[in-house]
Symmetry: C2
Subunit: 230 residues, 2 copies
DNA sequence: GTCTATAACGAGATAGAC
DNA sequence: GTCTATCTCGTTATAGAC
């Protein structure tokens, strides 16, 4: 009985993976907007209604792809982080940023799915929030380590008056142990990192920046310095 | 005869504008991917073949919308620039960045069209390049003014060895009168600016940054400092 | 209980004959 | 320009195989 259940569970996992793989292929070909359950089913030799055993709706399939993408990116970034435990925090920061960039270049359509234009009519459920936070948490962790470690962080100038309250709130939310001007700089750097990646991926750097790897490395090193790393 | 031609020309301009307006409405409702000449025609009470007299293809209509969006954004940014001729260059930098953000918040779907995920199958023609460059040129201009004006720019550290050649090339291309480390910082800041705007617009700041105007102002002020403004 | 297949709905796009 | 026949889509109800 446990074998029968095991086989069924295994089959379910395999079919689920096959559906997502085919869906990712369609994502690359036509974009998230045109992702269709029927086309996925057709390509898999299934009937469309059968897919509803695996994904209650088209939007749930999209959600699964989004979560997978965030997790795939997060895993890659975390690997780069772990590989750099021995180097300085600024080098680790650069390594994580470079991992983000490389993942994006390897998975342009999934990158567009999670960091590009929102899909009209689709509303991301709460379940996407934790996977989406992984890269951000990693960057916070690097800065926290540097803050607590020997040498500490470079002192940053305080945030202006009109940002004080909001910066304190953000810091209390994300990293209560860090100075609020550092957390504000961190959130800024986090957004700017994806600005750099997006500009390269979406063609804004075409005929402007050609040799992109050193350009990116220099830019994210400056970002790291901007949050106080050294 | 010239009156008849004038009337015809006027009518053509009006119909062209009506087509683009309706297309922009569909852009907001369904996204660029699902923009269809047929649906636009239906909504305008025209027959689809009639539209081809105004736009030879769906892609040409898309191109027109993209150029309009870049021009609309560029105009807004240039207005902010001109309104700030009397203030310092850092304040003018901030004003232009805030104009970009405000335009994006006012035109989220057009922003997604030009700075979001590329539309699958659509390839932007060369005609989109000059309008797309307007904001970047404006930012270069601000830094150039500061460089040539009294006080000059803050000294930046040189770019690393592996970026030297590329930074020189970019500087020769975009602003031969500026030091190449400044131009590299400028291009970086340009991308990072749109990272900030995109994160706000595409929902990445939801439940993270709530009071966004002062946050953005502080972030772009730091960006301006990063290119040497003071 | 778990899955797949058939059929159908209403809405929308599309192609071609007229 | 118009009309129609034929496609697509998401989704559901239902029936039957394992």
């Amino acid at each position: 009985m446990s074998t029968a259940q095991g086989a069924r569970a295994r089959a379910r996992i395999e079919v689920t993976a096959a559906i997502k793989d085919e869906a990712r292929r369609q994502l690359a070909a036509e974009g998230a907007v045109k992702l269709s359950l029927r086309a996925v089913a057709r390509e898999l030799g299934m009937v469309s209604s059968a897919l509803y055993r695996y994904f209650p709706s088209r939007d749930d399939l999209l959600t699964a792809l989004i979560i997978d993408a965030y997790d795939s990116l997060g895993e890659r970034a975390e690997q780069a982080h772990e590989a750099g435990v021995e180097v300085g925090s600024l080098e680790r920061w650069v390594a994580v940023c470079e991992a983000v960039r490389c993942w994006a270049l390897d998975h342009p359509h999934e990158y567009a799915l999670i960091y590009g234009s929102p899909v009209p009519g689709y509303i991301a459920p709460q379940a996407t929030v934790p996977p989406a936070a992984r890269v951000g948490l990693l960057l916070i962790g690097i800065v926290r380590d540097a803050h607590q470690g020997p040498g500490g962080l470079e002192e940053l100038t305080a945030v202006p008056e009109d940002l004080r309250t909001e910066a304190d709130r953000i810091a209390a939310d994300l990293a209560p142990d860090l100075p609020s001007e550092v957390v504000a700089a961190l959130v800024t750097a986090w957004a700017q990192l994806f600005g750099l990646v997006g500009f390269e991926l979406f063609g804004q750097f075409n005929r402007v920046v050609e040799d992109r790897a050193p350009f990116f490395r220099h830019a994210v090193r400056r970002l790291g310095r901007g949050v106080g790393l050294r």
